[in-house]
């Protein structure tokens, strides 16, 4: 397979020690700095800035009411404050406006928890606590993800059993290990934009095009090689931050790889597509740099953006990087895959779009 041959060359040709150092050491350094320096400010956000949850008890029997009060008291000491709400509608409205992390409606037939899905970490914690409570009473916890949408949509109910890994809360190192890794993946858009320019600079594009390989084979081979190369970096980053910095990547660190790889594929495709649209290295590099920086900001690479409001929050809500970050955090800390599946679907879809676009332009173009 000539594509494999080209992919191997792509890997072999990447013998730039400066690049290797940059791509590994820099993110690790940033993780270390941000993870340790901001730890206190970080924890405060989660522990001391307590999580507030509304609840309603509907026709409870005496035992339920009693145990619930006990539970609420215990929860207070873990930093989660349950406040009673007089009406369901008002309560959900307040959840929607992010004044509360969520609302739990408890009865003896079950429990419905509606959470603001931008407060992923808070929700994860609350859900974990509720699960413990439910377990104690052998209720099946009925969880609903309401988010900001209209109450009617709560009709989509999911029955899930949620398993929470102890009560370990994500600290700053855990957070930054994840977001810095995804940010570095984002930066690989820059190298992807140079994919073909690299060959053009060395004039080897002449050799490639005069050989009996099709443009498609060259494109796929180079993309595959680039992907493999970056994938290895990602794995190294994950392992390093896990074993050297003790960052929490979940019980099975490698389970997050599909999400990371989906983002990698999207980012590479994006880089290549932009370079083809903007015809060449210079302009594409600048544009991608700007986009990457903005994305990193709005996606939560520098500080957590969950729960932000106003125009910043509005933009942050639509950020693809943010989506991937949220997905990763939810999988790691709450074992929940719903956001992850959405993120992967988006990433793969966008990747397909970008790669398709790039392929079409490449075909029509003269030369690589």
């Amino acid at each position: 397979m000539r594509m494999l041959h080209i992919a191997c060359k792509e890997l072999k040709a990447f013998r730039d020690p400066a690049m290797l150092v940059f791509m590994l050491a820099t993110p690790l350094a940033i993780m270390l700095i941000l993870g340790t320096a901001l730890s206190r400010g970080f924890d405060r956000e989660i522990e001391i800035g307590e999580i507030r949850v509304l609840y309603r008890l509907e026709q409870p029997d005496r035992t339920l009411g009693q145990v619930w009060s006990e539970f609420v008291r215990d929860a207070e000491s873990s930093g989660v404050r349950f406040e009673v709400s007089d009406s369901r509608e008002k309560g959900l409205e307040m959840v929607r406006r992010a004044e509360y992390a969520g609302m739990a409606v408890v009865s003896d037939s079950g429990m419905v928890y509606t959470g603001n899905d931008r407060a992923a970490v808070e929700n994860a914690i609350v859900q974990g606590l509720l699960q413990t409570f439910a377990d104690r009473y052998r209720l099946s916890a009925v969880l609903a993800d309401g988010g900001i949408s209209a109450p009617e949509d709560v009709g989509r109910e999911y029955v899930r059993s949620v398993s929470v890994d102890g009560t370990r809360q994500p600290d700053s190192m855990d957070y930054y290990a994840v977001v810095i890794t995804t940010m570095i993946i984002l930066y690989s858009a820059l190298t992807a934009a140079q994919l073909m320019e690299w060959e053009r600079k060395r004039k080897t594009d002449l050799r490639l095009l005069s050989a009996p390989v099709s443009k498609a084979e060259i494109f796929v081979g180079k993309m595959a090689g680039s992907f493999l190369l970056h994938a290895v970096f990602v794995i190294l980053l994950v392992l390093f931050s896990r074993y050297a910095f003790n960052a929490d990547w979940g019980s099975r660190p490698l389970a997050v790889l599909p999400i990371l790889f989906s983002q990698l594929l999207f980012v590479l495709g994006f880089g290549v597509a932009v370079s083809y649209l903007l015809r060449g290295g210079g302009a594409a590099g600048v544009v991608i740099m700007v986009i990457v920086q903005l994305e990193a900001l709005f996606g939560g690479a520098y500080f957590p953006v969950e729960g932000s409001t106003g125009w910043f929050g509005a933009i942050a809500a639509w950020s693809p990087l943010g989506l991937t970050n949220r997905a990763l955090l939810q999988v790691i800390h709450a074992g929940e895959w719903s956001t992850a599946l959405r993120a992967m679907a988006f990433n793969f879809g966008a990747a397909a779009l970008c790669l398709g676009l790039a392929a079409v332009i490449m075909r029509k173009k003269e030369g690589l």
Partner: protein, 382 residues
Amino acid sequence: MKAEQHPAERRSIALMLIALASAGWLAVNAGGSELLPECLLVALLHVSLRLAAGLTAGWPRLLLLMLAAAVLGAGIAVHPAFVLPLPIIVYEIASRIYRPGWSILVALAVPLPALPDGWLLPYGIAAAASFACLRAFDTDGRRIRTLQDEMEQLRDKLRRTLAKLDEMEGYVRQSEYVMKLEERSRISQRLHDEIGQSLTGALMQMEAARRLLGTDRAKAEQLLQQAIRIAKEGIDRIRLTLKQWKPLPEQLGMHRLKRLAAEFEAQHSIRASVTHEGDLDRILPIHWKIIHDNAAEALTNVLKYAAASRVDIHVQVMRAMIRSVVADDGQGAVRIVKGLGLAGMEERAAAAGGTVIVDGSRGFSVTTLLPLDVHEAGRRNS
């Protein structure tokens, strides 16, 4: 391209109708005020499709289609009725990438499992109808394009035939000229023979008469009479031959060329000179015609483009090549666009196996190269 407009126009109208139908359906079922965002989405969709139809370049069109798809996606999130225009978008995108046949039905069937309840039938109908219509439009469009290509080819053929015709006419004129020359050489040959015969005969008689003048007067007179007779006959025959012989215009190509240069200089006050090098006799009449016509064309170009003060024509005969250069001292040009004049020069030269080189680095120079057969040479008259 006009051909692409019509099917695309019809497509967007079809889309508009479906969109309006679904909007109407919404109005009936969902109640008034919520309709505004949907309507905006429909309008946006329609606009982007119209724009996409107007563009023929590859990737901007694709981009707009993807934008339309994104808008549609947003629309579907708002209300499921937006799945109805989906088949059209999918078809459009697919046809940019490859030529979709029945395989597109598979792509259209993909959203089926994700449709909300009750939408299966409307979607199916919309998909089937869109597919049928779009296939028909596509076939139309393709047929129009094929016809256009054919027309282009025919036009090309016509042009080439006309050019060939022109060339043939040139040949005919050339052979006429050659025939004339041959005839003249025949005439001159005959003249030569006639004069030779007559003069020799008459001379013999006169010599004999002179010798007999002293001895046999009568015989001498007889011989003189014969000499006069032969001479008279000869003169008659010469006169006859001369009658057939019309005045020759300039035979030698070099004179013709010099005349061309002189006329040019007189008419346009640009100094024109003609020089030569090598054995001009080796140049055949057909070569002279090409040299002369190309020089005339080159001079016209000098007038038009060169802004020159002098033109030099140089004809050089090498061992196996004739080189004729028309060079001016004007502004020249770095890049030369081949116009009809140049193309004509090239075709003329190519008819004799030669070529024309145009160089603009130091003024304009038009060089006509004509190969010479080393053995045949131009010695047809000896």
